[in-house]
Symmetry: C2
Subunit: 362 residues, 2 copies
């Protein structure tokens, strides 16, 4: 790791070192043009090649069908929280939401500004420690869409398989924290959105994968920038896009591709998470807070037997080169975020340190 440490931050998060190196080079001189990637007009050939590469790698890795648009927007998931209902929901229609944590709740709060919201399922009574069982989901009569959050960074839970809404109801997913960490069956979805800053690149780019009929169905009386059709029609170049972030995303996607694609990512993510969960399951000091069957492969949330031990653990871990282990302020404890780019050796090193700490303080 040379002068770099283990970064377990929930996001913005660790990037592949090869991607950082190629980004440094391109920043000075992109593809021999004599101009750095941040300084190229978004309309010139060199940048057009970058955004086309980003799109075609997305399509290849996730096998995105031709009847879907791939958009590179700004504003993060927080902007999609309102852009989705603003486009598709009205005062006389209902959207179904499944609540699995803070981000689902924030999405609902924005949807309520535009129309009716039906909570089709929630794990709030279990303090969001689990994903609701398929049998517990109750869809409304005729929802205009069904929304869920595929991975919950704060509670360390993740859907194994996406929920199945009634026939014809578009499934919409906030996949910000697990996009491209495993294969995704795009034809099951109407719209998938994800802030880039966990598995895809730096913050400031939002990937949106949306079925073309939904693009057309969206309200056309909205501000130009808030209509998906604007960005679909102009291939994300209606206005100046976040060019550097799109470049880094293309580099990350190429890195995923070189390393075997989404199936290989999933296999490695399973192996990485297993090393840590296995230790937590046999520890007498540490335990994971996510229910069996709902455990996230991305964010591993855990507690120690006392808050004092947690503080001590986080402080000593930091000294030993493990950064970002403090849990979200709303839940406390610890969180190890091990996205695609987090190295397997880092998981082994963390377990070695957990074990050492437990022996010394047990």
């Amino acid at each position: 790791m040379s002068e770099r440490i283990y970064n377990l931050s929930a996001g913005p998060a660790v990037l592949p070192e090869e991607v950082i190196r190629s980004s440094q080079e391109a920043m000075w001189n992109l593809s021999g043009t004599g101009i750095g990637v941040m300084e190229h007009s978004h309309r010139d050939k060199a940048f057009m090649a970058v955004i086309e590469k980003a799109e075609s790698l997305c399509r290849k890795l996730a096998a995105i069908p031709a009847d879907y648009d791939v958009l590179f927007l700004q504003g993060g998931a927080s902007t999609q929280f309102f852009m989705v209902p603003m486009s598709f929901l009205g005062p006389d229609t209902t959207a179904d939401y499944i609540v699995t944590g803070v981000w689902s709740q924030k999405a609902i709060a924005e949807a309520k500004r535009f129309g009716k919201v039906h909570v089709a399922g929630t794990s709030e009574e279990q303090s969001f420690s689990a994903i609701p069982a398929a049998s517990a989901i109750r869809w409304s009569e005729r929802p205009v869409y069904a929304h869920f959050t595929s991975n919950n960074t704060i509670f360390g839970t993740q859907w194994t398989n996406e929920p199945t809404p009634p026939d014809g109801v578009p499934l919409i997913c906030d996949a910000s924290s697990d996009i491209f960490s495993r294969p995704i069956d795009v034809p099951k979805y109407g719209l998938i959105y994800a802030g880039a800053q966990k598995n895809l690149g730096p913050s400031g780019v939002t990937l949106v994968i949306v079925r073309k009929d939904l693009v057309e169905r969206g309200s056309s009386s909205l501000p130009t920038m808030l209509q998906y059709r604007t960005h679909a029609k102009e291939k994300s170049l209606y206005n100046t896009p976040p060019t550097f972030g799109i470049f880094v995303m293309a580099e990350v996607l190429a890195w995923i591709d070189r390393n075997g694609g989404l199936a290989a990512m999933e296999k490695q993510n399973q192996a990485k998470a297993k090393v840590i969960y296995d230790y937590l399951d046999r520890s007498s000091m540490f335990r994971t807070t996510a229910a069996a069957g709902s455990r996230s492969l991305m964010n591993i949330c855990f507690r120690a037997t006392t808050p004092e031990l947690e503080d001590k653990f986080i402080a000593e871990a930091k000294k030993r080169g493990f950064s970002g282990l403090k849990g979200h302020r709303s839940v406390g404890g610890m969180r190890a975020s091990v996205y695609n780019a987090f190295p397997p050796a880092g998981c082994d090193a963390l377990v070695a340190f957990l074990s050492e700490f437990e022996k010394a303080n047990g």
Copy 2:
């Protein structure tokens, strides 16, 4: 210039080479933290220091008073085109706009979705080759705000002094293409917005300087992300901001500061533009399209005697290491964008090449 060429792009545009070098370093390891700037959580101390540096340098350089908020948002000027009227304009109120080109027209199109628009002045009859005279501006009875575009990239015109709306009417400015290229008298303004990608950094960050009473006046029934108060209250950290873009902006601002601040930028920009305009004024082949008194110091638009000579000039210039000289597709001709970071030596070199070309083809 080593392996880099002269980049006269209208935006994204050339950045100071020192800034590129420090950004490359920080991308690997920010301030000795062992984590690159793109990979730091936006909530950790290292990034908090970055965003605080960006804000404090903005405040220092432009002498921004304490009753103004400085915000780092996403979505560019195109997002401000609707966010401004969405916040302040309603069906029964009027906003005044001065039309000096395409960007003003786009801003008006979005404002019309929310309320009434009065065109207080326009140079459309002169094909936007000039800035309207102060004596030609006719304000409406009681506008909720007055909006203008300080520099017009497509037509190469720039306001010398800002317009003066009636007492108590907030002046709102799209300063995307000349922000911090000269001193700005912030207390004259209610709100100033600027996409970063000309004088401030990479695309994907929007600087907004807004008087606190306007923040409070904005509609509070809008989506959370579209209320200025959300970002003012949370110091631009309500959601994950474009962290890398803000870092680069802080580096650019520090570069401006080291080089004498906005007064020194203005002096150098005047000298740089003068070299080119002086040549165009004495040339028999080339002439500038902007009217005297309205000439932009940022974007120098010019024509040759025939379209054939223009094509030949642009092609030969490219071979000689001058990139981005083609005028906007809507007006044709040539455009030399010479923002803060474009070196004076590049202006001299361009004039030498113009002269050589004129001699060879005259």
